[in-house]
Symmetry: C2
Subunit: 285 residues, 2 copies
Amino acid sequence: MTTRLAVIAPGAMGSAVARELVGRGAQVLTVIDSRSERSTLRARDAGMIAADLSDLPGCDLILSIVPPDAAIGLAQMLAPVLRQSPTKPAFIDFNAINPATMQDVSAALSGTGCDVLDGAIIGLPPQQGRDGPTFYISGDPDGRADVLASFGLKLRQIDGPVGAASALKMVYAGINKGLVALGTAMFLASERAGCAQALSQQMSESLPNLRGQLMHAIPDMYGKAYRWVPEMREITAFLGENDPASGIFDAASQIFASIAKDADRTLIAALDRVLSQTDSGDLAP
Amino acid sequence: MTTRLAVIAPGAMGSAVARELVGRGAQVLTVIDSRSERSTLRARDAGMIAADLSDLPGCDLILSIVPPDAAIGLAQMLAPVLRQSPTKPAFIDFNAINPATMQDVSAALSGTGCDVLDGAIIGLPPQQGRDGPTFYISGDPDGRADVLASFGLKLRQIDGPVGAASALKMVYAGINKGLVALGTAMFLASERAGCAQALSQQMSESLPNLRGQLMHAIPDMYGKAYRWVPEMREITAFLGENDPASGIFDAASQIFASIAKDADRTLIAALDRVLSQTDSGDLAP
């Protein structure tokens, strides 16, 4: 019997995941917003099957892969359909939401009779020629998500309740993207203060790996900064006001916002000047 | 003619620097607070010569190497002595102070007739068996500090005004210690949220260098956290209220303060649990 999965929505990540699953023989349904030509094309390209909401309860799993602010809405939209259905797919929320928001997703689906699992995707969308992301699951004592591993996804169960996978996404993104915010701010400050060349040289000597990572990650951030602003806010909310570290992510969201609205590319030009510093400074004789 | 230098004070860094200079044949004077037996011993051990304030104007260079909050006071104390002296040593402030504080140091010494140079020391104190720190200088168009290179110090002139070397110290420490604050906060959050093992494994795979650096730098911070609190505040002041990144260092100072006053080692025990996570998690079948 063919395994039938649903992936909503066919965004960059969702469609790339669907292509992997289809390639290994799964049927993958999706619900397409016909107003978005791009989504329609991506879904077709990935071999996804356009379906109605009422088709979804017939799937084994429903994967929610949407922007963070759409996670609760999707759960609320599906709840009545799942409640009325005799078949009960497991619902996995794979979104970059904080554990409290994940509890809201769970609550929206309570009374449907469906298992609600917490998921997190760490890494870039699957693509030919690079390692795919890792799919973390928590709150799945019966291993209902394990079927995804048989379709080639790198799946890892976290021995923890619903919320642990969402928390993992928060702390991992906090380190990875928080570092980019920190580097961005310090590189800009070094430019303003006239010590960018010295900083570059000193880092080459004493922090070469960190410098290499920032040299790659900062330019890669320019085009994503607008998406990272709400993600940093999710981390701020995750930590809560009583954790002083929430201030790091409040600052990070502002730093990424300043890059996102850097329309005349003043900041980006300054960063590029720092990133292009070579290590030609000589020691005094 | 023997080169005569002054290094004030004989703290951990000052005395280690003096030992290097003495070892290469310089005479190194210092002023010892006789109330501190430890300083007296360190100075003697480094081959420094105990001197009075009135002896200092006879030196070629005076190196100020004191805690950040003592930098202005030392300059103010030396000012009358230097003003009245016919010989005019250059004064180098090597302290971890922000550029505005460095301007205050300069102002305290204006009218003395002495050149005031801005310095920054990046790295651990010189010690047998490891690379010494790098000594950065700005505001030294005549190369008056270059004599330090001839006594074995790794000296680098920054082509910038007084303030540029202090700024370099701020941005370098901002990246290096800001990362430790970020890692500390996220590791603690992962422990609270039950995803420390998964975080450790994910970082081993996708951020191995960063993980390695944090595994080393976080335990190394425990005993220094109390000193890093004021250093983070200097960086906050350096960036200023209008730079959102100042919030990162306001948070970092609070994070280090929480470690510094972690008397029952609750936080340190939690961090040690995260740091001791092995990468034994298996992928689902």
